[in-house]
């Protein structure tokens, strides 16, 4: 038990720590700074949870289904938890650098696996609570009457809700990793399969989305299939226990399976495939920047977690580009008039969310890890290294940003000048996210990591980017709602402001980036 608790503590530290590498004492200033950022981020998440559940509650009140609010919010949290667990499966549960170290110690397989799984559940539960607690207050406000038994039922379901999604994510993550391990370029295949899987989830959610006829729950229930039980669990303790049973039972089954097969699958996943009969060819030289760019691209495409994380914004943007024309054409067919110049006011909110949430630059320095010495001892300027990192981000995002915005503008029939300004705003947000991501990674590099998950998902740089994404998105929505001047002027102001932000960001990178980074590493 002591060994399990020690392992659990280490795993939780791995899940929950950010920019500071373990073993180093952080100064009080840094501690306060990190804590402040986490608290602000938590407050923003609570705010968004509250606002989002309020919108849901108002819609549900119209149909007299307010009882569905908490199960619906729980299902939202579960869907996001699914992706967190997915990352955890492919990087922390399996193929982790600590595998050999832990297995060489007198610790049971049960303790090793359960410590990793419990850490996964705890982090998922923390996120679920951030969503459910504000939603509960919204429910209490709208429903009025909240009984003690209802609180118990909701609490039980909340506590057990991360179990099923974590178990399913483990199975899906393992299957994808096993399939990819059949290939020499298994990391690339793994990344592509993850993207395909995510696109399928997006497609299902789009196809089975909300409609007035079927209601919110039936749409979401097609993805989160135990949602009907959760809804009934709010009024019947029997269903609450059924929900708890399904969650815990599935998790117990999957955990047993993982414990029994842990060694076997880790061996399969860590087996390296090699090229037979390699012969040297004649190789040609490339320029420094091109070579650095190619290396950055290979880094991105050979790390599934890095690839998926950075592709998330691009995918969301792509999905929106496809969805907007379809939605608008169907609305027009139904004879509904939509003022494009009003709708376009909310476009920057979508762009900022897609671009700012996870730019590749926010972890590109951290991803260098212990091999950063290679470029640091080479005759290349740090600014050239920065350029290569930013170029990757620009190449991935700009085409989608420009084409997507043009398609969206055509489909919502906006005047040329406004459409052009919208494209400029989209581009400026794209370059700003790229620069800000790099700037934060320069200020908060994390080179001492044991698995890529720590570099990609747990860096302070990403934390700042998430913070910025929420703040910018919120501001754009607020301006969109409250705006009293013409959309054209709003976009002129947006363009000018974003241009200034871009200039400041890039000046800081090129003038101080190198010296700031050297101080940190």
């Amino acid at each position: 038990m002591t060994k399990f608790l020690s392992l659990l503590k280490i795993q939780l530290l791995g899940f929950l720590t950010t920019g500071r590498s373990r073993g180093k004492k952080a100064s009080n200033g840094k501690k306060v700074g990190t804590l402040s950022i986490i608290l602000i981020l938590g407050a923003i998440m609570v705010f968004y949870g509250y606002t989002y559940s309020k919108i849901f509650a108002e819609a549900l009140l119209l149909t007299g289904e307010i009882i569905q609010l908490l199960p619906l919010m729980m299902s939202m949290a579960c869907l996001i938890n699914f992706f967190f667990s997915f990352y955890g499966t492919t990087n922390i549960l399996y193929s982790n650098k600590d595998y050999e170290l832990l297995n060489a110690m007198p610790i049971s397989k049960f303790a090793i696996v359960m410590s990793k799984l419990c850490a996964m559940i705890v982090s998922n539960l923390l996120f679920t609570l951030c969503i459910i607690i504000p939603s509960f207050f919204v429910y209490a406000k709208f429903a009025g009457d909240v009984s003690f038994i209802f609180v118990v039922e909701v609490l039980l379901m909340t506590l057990f809700s991360p179990f099923l999604v974590s178990a399913l994510a483990i199975i899906v993550g393992l299957l994808i990793s096993l399939l990819a391990s059949l290939f020499v370029k298994k990391n690339l295949i793994n990344g592509i399969l993850l993207i395909v899987f995510m696109l399928c989830i997006f497609a299902i959610s789009f196809i089975s989305g909300y409609s007035m006829e079927t209601g919110l729950a039936s749409g979401i229930g097609k993805i989160y299939f135990i949602l009907p039980i959760a809804i009934k669990g709010c009024t019947s303790f029997g269903y609450t226990m059924l929900f708890v049973g399904i969650n815990f039972g599935t998790f117990a089954l999957v955990s047993t399976f993982v414990i029994l097969t842990y060694k076997k699958f880790n061996t399969i996943l860590s087996t390296k495939r090699t090229v037979k009969n390699f012969k040297l060819k004649q190789y040609n030289s490339k320029g420094q920047l091109k070579s650095l760019f190619n290396r950055e691209m290979k880094r991105l495409f050979t790390s599934p977690i890095y690839f998926v994380n950075c592709a998330l914004g691009v995918i969301m943007n792509l999905v929106i580009c496809i969805v907007v024309p379809i939605v608008f054409s169907s609305l027009r067919k139904e004879g509904l008039f939509i003022d494009g110049s009003i709708v376009v006011l909310f476009a920057p909110a979508i762009f900022s969310f897609c671009f700012l949430l996870s730019p590749s630059t926010a972890c590109s320095i951290s991803m260098e890890g212990q091999s950063f010495w290679v470029v640091r001892t080479s005759p290349i300027s740090m600014n050239k290294i920065f350029n290569a990192k930013m170029l990757v981000n620009i190449v991935l995002n700009v085409p989608i940003a420009v084409i997507g915005t043009i398609v969206a503008m055509i489909s919502i029939k906006v005047k040329f000048t406004l459409a052009l300004l919208c494209v400029i705003v989209s581009l400026l947000l794209c370059t700003l996210s790229c620069g800000l991501g790099l700037l934060f990674n320069i200020l908060f590099p994390k080179l001492n990591w044991t698995n890529e998950n720590q570099a990609v998902k747990q860096g302070a740089a990403l934390l700042f980017m998430v913070l910025f994404a929420f703040v910018f998105t919120g501001l754009f929505v607020l301006i969109g709602i409250k705006a009293t001047i013409s959309p054209l002027w709003i976009f002129v102001i947006y363009s000018a402001t974003l241009l200034i932000f871009n200039i400041v960001t890039y000046c800081l990178i090129y003038l101080y980036g190198e010296q700031w980074l050297i101080k940190k590493v």
């Binding site: 090229v275 190789y283 030289s285 490339k286 470029v375 001892t377 005759p379 050297i518 101080k519």
Partner: protein, 236 residues
Amino acid sequence: MLEIKNYTKKYGNFTAVDNLSLTANSGEIYGFIGHNGAGKSTTIKSIVGTLAFEGGDILIDGMSVKTNPLECKKITAYVPDNPDIYEYLTGIQYLNFVCDIFGIGNAQRNEKIARYSSLFEIQGNLGDLISSYSHGMKQKLVLISALIHDPKFLVLDEPFVGLDPIASHNLKEIMKEICAKGGTIFFSTHVLEVAEKLCDRVGIIKGGKLVAEGKVKDIVGDKNLESIFLEIEKND
């Protein structure tokens, strides 16, 4: 070739290296010896430009690593104590990357890759991902990448760790070859026998201070380097 003048490196209040001065001339193999934590790697990291320092200066071929880092790096090659390199690249991709960064032309890169990969018996593995390499294979690849651009100054941190006997022998021969051509080698090692046989001059560092320096035969006299080193360590 290498001139360290009053070099001082501090980590907060702790002085890792204190007022170190030494010189390694062209055509010389210089051995840098000291126990764990004496300040060898700290000094080496400052020489190759991965660690900033407060006091003194380090000159490579007359150029300061502080004011002229890129020019210094062009003529320097570095082999760290741990071969952490890009595991997502294949061996050949890594070598081509290094060649591109150092601006090596097609003819030279093809000739050098063929020569050194054959010498270190790694040619058949160059198509594999570095993540599949053993520690020794990674060390060989790092050595090839260091030698591929014909450096005038070679800095090696524990270069023989993980190498098989043939590779170790080949590396020693290459080190002598570089020096015969007028190059300079500055390397740290714990294997005192190797240092004694291979080096022209040695410097012994203890607690961040250079406690002995000079030609090997002058320092050793009629004893051996190991007994001298042990005497220095005991005299505290």
